[in-house]
């Protein structure tokens, strides 16, 4: 997949920093093709964050496979239930379906942070 321009990356980076400051969770975004099963790959990406994985939220977007995964660590899950993740994932998928990759990511990061902050 083509990389992000400096402006796009800056937007995503700022959204992630803002989300981390607000929610106290750690965010990671991965765009690419999975190695093996999509969900399993996303969970392994999450586990690769090491000690930070418990508080981490990983957003994995498979643009080629037209699918996305949100993975939350065990501590992040207490504040970010699967139902909230599902709702956010559907909204992100809607944005992606019209070709708005960056817009969908920015919305998703902000929405997840909002949900986590509300349950803080």
């Amino acid at each position: 997949m083509r990389g992000l321009t400096a402006a796009q990356a800056d937007d995503v980076r700022q959204a992630m920093h803002a989300a981390e400051r607000r929610s106290g969770l750690r965010f990671g975004v991965f765009l690419g093709e999975p190695v093996g099963a999509r969900r399993h790959f996303a969970e392994r990406l999450h586990a690769a964050l090491g000690e930070e994985a418990g508080d981490a939220v990983v957003i994995f977007v498979d643009v080629t496979g037209r699918a996305l995964e949100i993975v939350t660590g065990d501590q992040a899950r207490r504040r970010l239930p699967d139902s909230a993740c599902r709702l956010t994932a559907m909204s992100m998928a809607t944005a992606f379906s019209v070709g708005d990759l960056i817009g969908g990511l920015l919305y998703g990061i902000a929405a997840l942070a909002e949900q986590a902050t509300a349950r803080r």
Binding site: G3, A6, A9, V29, F30, P81
Partner: protein, 133 residues
Amino acid sequence: MGYVLRSLEILGLREDLSADTPRTGLAGLANEDYVHGVNSAAEILLFLIGVSLGLFVLISLLVMLPGRSAQRRVESGPVWLGGPDRSERGVSTSGLVLADRVAHWADIPEHDWMAAAETAEPGRRVGGASAGW
């Protein structure tokens, strides 16, 4: 008062020097051409404007040329932000403004998230959701 008049004469703003007074410029004693050629206030002003413009052009080139020649390609393959140790990949480091560029002394983590994921074991209590479009 005499000192002021003398200063004006040196700067070329007062031309009525007495005949027996040696004419001096900023560099000291000088001949007639030098005094009239360099010490004219308008010419000094033009000289300063020229130097300023030259410096402006030089500094502009120094700032803009590295940005144009910097790595502008966008890598193909996986892209990530916020990977292990805050690593990033597939993100263009060149930008339209100076603030977007990563300082050359900045320590950019080179962790490979995909390689780390190959050996990582997923946790049992992870949550989340999936969606497609």
